[in-house]
Amino acid sequence: MCLGIPGEIVSIEESEQLRTAKVRFGGAMRDVYLDLVPDAQIGDYVIVHVGFALSKIDAEEAGNVFEMLRKLGEEP
């Protein structure tokens, strides 16, 4: 139920009520509402849940898993 899928914004459309985007998930494309992440732009990756983007993925923070792995590798 709380499933959130990362996808890439490929286009944005503004209407009176809503800001919607075409978001690519691998091979699939879906309409996604951007109202909860107003600063999201084309090229951003967003976490999408029941048709709404909930967050913009922070590319820098996304590396922290691998940063920790690198440090683990350095320890004797």
Binding site: E8, I47, V50, G51, I57, A62, V65
Partner: protein
């Protein structure tokens, strides 16, 4: 797919498993709160690869499983009315009410429809102005902002045939109930990353302090869960009780301000029932103010029905509280399967019983 595949790397997973094994010196019991996390642990077999000292307890984080049976019965009653289109997220259709489920109402001629998003439900209301469209709005904090948006737009557009039957639940009060129970065995929480994407984790810091409970906000992919488990084990071994954020690519400490604002506009906090657990104070949301007119329990004058007590061998309540494992149930895999279930955790795609059924089967998981 970017941001998925790289978090499923087997070699990296083994490095984290080695690190966890190296850090553990004694037994620890941790709870992954969210049902999607339970599914990942079992799907990838991580529960069986962790050192024996690290025991997992599966949490109540499956909104479909904890939606009170009384509210499912209300949905079934509404769906049976000829003037109503009952609109639901797909997961809810096969969850048993006290006598039947929504899918069987549909088979009997009720107009029950499945949607992917709350705004699809609103679209149905615009398309069928002669019918009453009731959206069965369930979920945790992850889903509440999306459902709230439907109420906001319905109010702006003056849609008067759109209603919401809500069961919105809040995670921190449930964790507090678990942590404060006299028989609690949980020593640390893996907190739900998508709930915290919306809410942030300030409330979890209060829990960590008040109950001396280390918490790591965790993502859902194998490396996320392994890193978060490693971080949690390090806290436990060091005697620290902090909130750490493993899922920082999506979660900020203060959460998503737009999502929190729309929730706050539309909903108020109330005591709420949890199926299998009971009423937890201040653990639910209800439509408030100008939005209360969309509340189906008001519009249809539904009684706050109490479900009749039924005889069942199902131990869903004990499973949801982490006291028993799905495989402890005498009906598991025999009288209760995803096709013909006795309890909600077997039918939901996030339920612990369904995870055991699909990925582990009897006796395979600790």
């Amino acid at each position: 797919m970017r941001y998925l595949d790289e978090y499923r790397d087997g070699d990296a997973a083994r490095k984290f498993l080695d690190a966890i094994a190296g850090a553990v010196t004694r037994p620890w019991t941790i709870m992954e709160v969210c049902g999607s996390q339970t599914h990942s642990f079992l799907k990838y077999g991580i529960d069986r690869m962790l050192p024996e000292q690290v025991a997992l307890i599966h949490g109540p984080g499956c909104p479909v499983c904890v939606t009170p049976v009384e509210i499912i019965d209300q949905a079934i009653a509404l769906a049976s009315r000829p003037d109503v289109i009952l609109v639901s997220y797909g997961d809810m259709l096969r969850v048993p009410g006290s006598a039947k489920d929504l899918l069987s109402v549909k088979a009997e001629g009720g107009d029950v429809r499945m949607v992917y998003s709350s705004l699809d439900a609103l679209r149905l209301a615009r398309k069928h102005p002669d019918r009453k469209v009731v959206f069965f709005a369930i979920g945790f904090e992850t889903t509440a902002p999306a459902n709230a948006m439907a109420a906001v737009i319905a109010e702006k557009e003056g849609v008067d045939n759109f209603f919401m039957l809500t069961s919105h639940l809040l995670v921190p009060p449930a964790l507090e109930a678990i942590a404060s129970a006299p028989d609690n065995r949980v020593q640390g929480f893996l907190a739900p990353g998508h709930v915290c994407t919306v809410t942030g984790y300030v409330d979890y810091e209060r829990l960590a302090t008040n109950y001396r409970m280390p918490i790591v906000v965790s993502g859902f992919e194998p490396l996320d869960l392994l890193q978060a488990t490693y971080m949690l084990v390090q806290q436990l071994e060091a005697g620290r009780c902090e909130v750490e954020n493993q899922y920082s690519r999506s979660v900020k400490r203060e959460g998503n301000p737009q999502a929190l604002a729309v929730m706050d506009d539309v909903f108020e906090v109330v005591d709420h029932g949890w199926r299998g657990i009971g009423v937890i104070p201040s653990s639910g949301l209800r439509l408030k103010g100008a939005y209360a007119r969309f509340d189906a329990t008001r519009a249809f004058e539904l009684e706050a029905a109490t479900a009749p007590a039924t005889e069942s061998v199902c131990i869903a309540g004990l499973v949801l509280r982490g006291i028993r494992k799905p495989v402890d149930c005498p009906a598991f895999g025999s009288d209760c399967t995803p096709e013909h279930c006795l309890g909600a955790p077997m039918v939901s795609s996030e339920g612990a019983c369904a995870a055991y059924y699909h990925y582990a089967r009897q006796g395979a998981a600790r």
